[in-house]
């Protein structure tokens, strides 16, 4: 399987801090790759660097064979990258509809695709004309994900989608992401919730101190408690 996204020797400096210290990995087309690691390991920085929100200070990033490490964020997005940030970053002053209208960059909203999205997230249909700022945390996360998939994207970068959500919402969200994955999406997802990672991930990358310290199949990591404890400091059983 070919890599849709590949990083080679990527370094990122933010101010005087050396955040990413030479990371190399690939994200295979049609696969979901989980990016795990302790807080501060550099997971969010990796997504931000791919998205161009922080400029890589060295190394190469390629998307579908095209070098993007010097590209501006809007150009990277226009190559077909959808981004769901950790903060959700919905436009709270805009309605649900207006948030999605902005996300549909290439034209008017596609009714069939909207129906598909509403199948996952019925609340968005119900609160279509409501201010996004009035939505609950879970609904904002739905909107943030819907914004990333309102038009077909080559690659989805999703940063901790389950963070801060109630357990019942997390279960439902995992179902939604699994359905998006079944439709053939290529996803690179940062996740602290090991259960979610296990459910969704095909492959896994573990980061520590700005470096990739483990790569392999998600299913194998899920079975290896000793490896989980060594890499993450917690086992799957204790880290739900």
């Amino acid at each position: 399987m070919t890599d849709l996204l590949s990083l080679a020797g990527v370094h990122t400096h933010v101010g005087r801090y050396h955040i990413l210290q030479g990371i190399d990995f690939g994200v295979a087309e049609g696969q979901t790759t989980m990016l795990l690691g302790r807080n501060g390991a550099g997971k969010t920085s990796t997504l931000r660097t791919i998205m161009g929100l922080w400029q890589a200070s060295a190394g190469q990033i390629s998307l579908d064979g095209q070098r993007i490490e010097r590209s501006a964020t809007p150009d990277i997005a226009r190559l077909g990258v959808g981004y769901v940030p950790e903060s959700m970053a919905v436009f709270s002053d805009l309605s649900v509809k207006e948030n999605l209208v902005l996300a549909a960059r290439d034209g008017p909203l596609d009714d069939a695709r909207l129906d598909w999205i509403f199948g996952f997230f019925p609340a968005l249909r119900r609160f279509w004309l409501s201010r996004a700022g009035a939505l609950s945390g879970g609904q904002k996360q739905m909107l943030s994900i819907a914004r990333a998939i309102v038009e077909p994207r080559k690659l989805l970068l999703i940063d901790e989608p389950t963070k801060g959500l109630a357990p019942a919402i997390v279960v439902a969200l995992i179902e939604c992401l699994a359905e998006i994955k079944r439709r053939g999406a290529t996803i690179l997802m940062v996740e602290q919730n090991f259960h979610a990672a296990q459910e969704l991930g095909d492959t896994v990358l573990v980061m520590d101190n700005g470096k990739i310290v483990h790569r392999g199949e998600m299913a194998l990591l899920a079975l290896d408690v000793a490896l989980q404890e060594r890499l993450l400091g917690l086992s799957l059983e204790t880290h739900q």
């Binding site: 998205m51 929100l53 501006a72 964020t73 809007p74 997005a77 226009r78 981004y83 940030p85 970053a89 436009f91 709270s92 002053d93 805009l94 207006e98 209208v101 902005l102 996300a103 960059r105 996952f120 997230f121 019925p122 609340a123 119900r126 609160f127 409501s130 201010r131 009035a134 939505l135 609950s136 879970g138 609904q139 739905m142 914004r147 109630a166 019942a168 919402i169 279960v171 439902a172 969200l173 179902e175 939604c176």
Partner: protein, 336 residues
């Protein structure tokens, strides 16, 4: 999936109408203090007209602040340049300005205003590219660069037009007042109110009914996410900067006609006033800017009538009072 659907109804959004009511409350509260009904009407109309002109000048600045976090202390230059450019049309065509026909007057006034907006907008393009682009994200340098730009613009106006104050008489048909009983309402003030309302409605229409407007509102809130959606916000900002500069030019023409004179330091003089309005309203908020402009004008007019000695500090006192009540302005749009 069901949990996602069963989220219940949203809490009804609270309509924050208190700031909207402030000008009304202030006007009604002043009525008994002023005593004379005709004086109150005259002062209120003067306040509304002055407020609309200040709003036109400040509206672009608030969007520039909100959208790109740019501190443009040179905004006053666009006001002054707009006023001077208008003299290029209005003074040579003085016979048409002095003609006793509203249509003839407007036929001269409209192109003068449009030319002023175009020149101020073009100057905005140059300022953004030359002065602001190199100092994005660096507030101190922005203040230094734009303040320097304002000084250069002011001195350039002195060099081109000389140090004297240039009289700019009102068109004949806009002189005088409509008399209703013992109440006199100046015709030009009515025109200023009308133009201000049209500008306000136009901005609201663009912000709420067009994709560009959505982008501006979204960009004010989170410009990084707008870029992550694939939009080049710098281009959007340049457009907003040019339109804001053009509106400042329009405000400059209207202010010059209101004062019936043009001088090179008028932009500098108005900069503080415009900044007070933008801060009172909340950075990036057009609605807040509109109400802030009305409040500033009301305090200046009512305060000047009731306690003339307070007139010099009335706007600062107003800003302090508003910020003590709402530290991020009447309508906080950004988190700044």
């Amino acid at each position: 999936m069901t949990e996602l659907a069963a989220a219940g109804a949203l809490p009804k959004p609270k309509r924050d109408i208190l700031p909207v009511l402030l000008p009304v409350i202030l006007a009604l509260a002043m009525a008994p203090l002023i005593g004379s009904g005709s004086s109150w009407v005259t002062l209120t109309v003067a306040s509304l007209a002055m407020g609309m002109m200040i709003f036109i000048m400040a509206s672009g600045l608030t969007l520039v602040f909100g959208l790109m976090d740019v501190l443009n202390f040179g905004h006053g230059a666009f006001i002054a340049v707009g006023a001077y450019v208008a003299t290029l049309v209005l003074l040579p065509l003085a016979p048409y300005v002095q003609a006793d026909s509203l249509l003839t007057n407007l036929a001269v006034l409209a192109p003068a205003a449009l030319l002023s907006m175009a020149v101020s907008g073009a100057l905005g393009l140059v300022v953004e590219r030359v002065l602001i682009l190199p100092v994005y994200g660096q507030h101190l340098k922005q203040i230094l660069m734009t303040t320097g730009g304002l000084i250069v613009a002011e001195q350039a106006l002195y060099a081109l037009w000389g140090p004297q104050i240039i009289p700019l008489p009102l068109p004949t048909s806009l002189r005088g007042s409509f008399i209703i009983g013992d109440i006199a309402i100046a015709k030009y003030r009515l025109l200023a109110m009308l133009v201000g309302l049209v500008v306000f409605a136009g901005i609201q229409l663009v912000l709420n009914r067009t994709k560009i407007g959505l982008l501006i509102r979204a960009g004010v809130e989170n410009r990084e996410m707008v870029e992550a959606l694939g939009y080049r916000i710098r281009r959007l900002f340049l457009g907003v900067f040019m339109v804001g500069s053009g509106l400042a030019g329009l405000g400059g023409v209207m202010w010059a006609l209101y004062r019936e004179q043009v001088h090179a330091s008028m932009g500098n003089d108005l900069t503080v006033l415009v900044f007070i309005v933008v801060i009172i309203g909340g950075l990036g908020s057009i609605g807040g800017c509109f109400i802030g402009a009305l409040l500033v004008a009301m305090v200046a007019n009512y305060g000047g009538f009731l306690v003339p000695k307070l007139a010099l500090v009335s706007n600062i006192l107003l800003m302090v009072a508003i910020l003590m009540w709402r530290p991020r302005g009447l309508y906080a749009v950004t988190s700044r």
